[in-house]
Symmetry: C2
Subunit: 404 residues, 2 copies
């Protein structure tokens, strides 16, 4: 008995039939005696439909008008879920971002949540109502304007609501049934994790595992919200994302993940002056291009090669910017390589185990997989390899670190 926050994505509410299924899952939770608040996304396809209308008018649309428009997607799906519950005999109300007091910092189309004034939800709980909340949206109180949290923001909405209500758990229902040690489509023996730490989940989320949005994990970690990842299609145990405990440390590698969405850029023969790296990456950042792995090769003749990875979708823009940089700083040229993948191992156990990175490098070398770039953190090691070796590398690493 307590407060449970649930979240269902666009696919889960993609048709009236699926909406009714979601209502049954919520009703079951209610029957267990919990107060239930449920965050929903827009019906799948609806957000794209709205954005396409706007793009038809002008591909360079106003972020403010974008927010006023796309926020209607969640505002339409939530009353449909509420109505399904009402028709099943469960009192329910739908609530918009404004109505629940989802306060944001006012940045249009990519807002951060500042606060959730959950008074209205608590009032509705007192009346015995289930609350169905439009995800992805909030309000900037100074202007009264609607703001959205960026795509996938409904996960973050749900965790923020859970934090505000001090909920027992935030259950995220998706089309997979939990977090796996590797992508089961690549690794036959991938296992579902019973639990995983926030830190590990954060690394996995930013390394390409698409189960949860990174910002929702970060928010959960900061507010100590237990997040349960579950299937909306099958009734079986999921994966709990929670505080690190001593069990977790005994496992060296919790997950193996690969990301093919990256491309590598090399600026050749960069003059080796102080401040040159700063000059390059400031210019790239000012073009709103995110840089991931950066490697500076050992220089000779006072020159050095500077390599880094960007999202594949940013590659064209990034090479354009780099060509300008080459002219400015007198470097030799720009090389782009789309055929790469980043393969990573993640685990809090690495903190107390030595030689993990070395073992990873040996395993790849033994299998003739050449490492192009390396980057590490306290709890992860990533290697950039040729794209064609991506699946092989994941299988080798999973077998050696997880299955062993």
């Amino acid at each position: 008995m307590g407060i449970v926050v649930m979240k269902f994505g666009g696919t889960s509410v993609g048709s009236i039939e699926r909406i009714k299924n979601v209502a049954r899952i919520i009703a079951k939770k209610r029957d267990q005696g919990h107060d239930v608040a449920c965050v929903v996304s827009a019906m799948s396809g609806e957000t794209d439909r709205l954005i396409n209308l706007l793009k038809e008018i002008d591909p360079k649309f106003s972020p403010r008008e974008y927010d006023q428009l796309v926020s209607t997607g969640e505002q339409a799906s939530s009353p449909l879920v509420a109505q399904s519950l009402i028709s099943m005999g469960y009192p329910a109300v739908s609530l918009t971002g404004i109505q629940i007091g989802m306060i944001t910092n006012g940045v249009h189309s990519n807002s951060r949540i500042m606060d959730v004034k959950a008074d209205r939800i608590k009032e509705e709980f007192k009346k015995g109502n289930i609350c169905i909340i439009a995800g992805f949206q909030g309000i900037f109180p100074e202007s009264g304007d609607i703001t959205t949290l960026g795509r996938g923001g409904s996960d973050t909405s749900a965790v923020a609501v859970a934090a505000a209500l001090k909920a027992n758990v935030c259950e995220i229902y998706t089309d997979v049934d939990g977090v796996y040690t590797a992508d089961p489509r690549i690794v036959k023996h991938a296992k579902k994790l019973e639990k995983i730490s926030y830190d590990e989940m954060l690394e996995l989320a930013s390394l390409g595992a698409k189960v949860l949005q990174s910002r929702s994990v970060e928010l959960g970690m900061n507010h100590n919200v237990d997040i349960m990842v579950l299937s909306s299609l099958e009734d079986k145990p999921g994966t709990l994302v929670t505080k690190e405990d001593s069990d977790m440390e005994q496992v060296v590698v919790t997950g193996v993940v690969s990301d093919k969405n990256q491309a590598k850029i090399t600026i050749a023969a960069v003059p080796d002056n102080p401040g040159i790296a700063s000059k390059i990456f400031t210019k790239i950042a000012s073009s709103n291009i995110n840089v991931d792995v950066i490697v500076q090769n050992v220089g000779k003749d006072g020159n050095t090669d500077m390599s880094f990875t960007v999202q594949k979708t940013d590659l064209l823009r990034a090479t354009d910017v780099c060509n300008e940089i080459v002219k400015e700083i007198g470097a030799k040229g720009v090389l782009a390589d789309e055929n790469i993948a980043k393969v990573s191992i993640v685990g809090v156990g690495m903190r107390s185990h030595t030689g993990v990175a070395a073992k990873m490098f040996s395993l790849l070398a033994e299998n003739n997989i050449n490492i192009k770039m390396i980057t590490t953190s306290e709890i992860k090691v990533s290697c950039v390899v040729e794209e064609k070796f991506s699946e092989l590398a994941v299988r080798i690493l999973h077998e050696a670190f997880v299955e062993a």
Copy 2:
């Protein structure tokens, strides 16, 4: 130079192409130096699409959830119009009913406007912005809930905004280019009126002319808002709905209109006791059926026939209720007649001219059109006739009263 409120219906914003056309009309008004606030309906078809989703879940849906859902239609069309203006170089913002402070009495799906706190619109005017306002919707401040004004409510939104801003004029753009002396599809010589009084427009609106919603005319009258009915497709003068003036009184009949959407019910041999009419019509009203014309025939043997008209869509329910009444009061039976039409002449000049009703009855009699029921007000005479005579009656009356 001043403040102009405009309103465009669902057909006018039914596609991106039409939305761009609407933006051009608004921009032209802005170029004349006015501050412009423009109320828009949902894109045509969108409200029905949303209602059908809700009905698929439950035909007996919650009015509160209905409001949360259907209000998204106008909330989506308004940013599309705003974006079109922005892309043309005209600063614009879309605003929801909540954002403009459209305060209602809280009755879901059929609210009345209590107040418009137009501070936000005035602020945007100061910044030089055109305001594109989602029509049809408001907020009940005590609950923070979204409420809608009933179908066609965007006309009423527009007049309420015009009243709050003390606008020079409220321009209602539709697919006809003004108010005519009769339906031009029936009467060849029907003329567009340059102006018409609120009282006459109210009678015409409630008698079946579909140009303006009655409530918007009533609101315009109460707040002295000049309403201009115009075409969104052609740039030509429309009809001004305004205060009665001495010119208007010189015209006896301003318009001739027919309504085929009515049906007649007769309760035969009602015992002629005091209070019996009250008993009958209280019961009918409690079933939410609107009764229009009522006629009580002269009784014999202490009995009387009670006839009245209802909307055709209410006929089945009304006869069911009447059959119950017949049993309760010991009447003889219920007769229903769907093949009727109500033909009316309207004009403020009737106040100062005598013999208008008599002339109407004579004209109908001379043409062998039998009058089944009669009802009059200070500025109108309505006759219920057989449906097949409807067009003929309109033509005869228009020729005699308007063309003469």
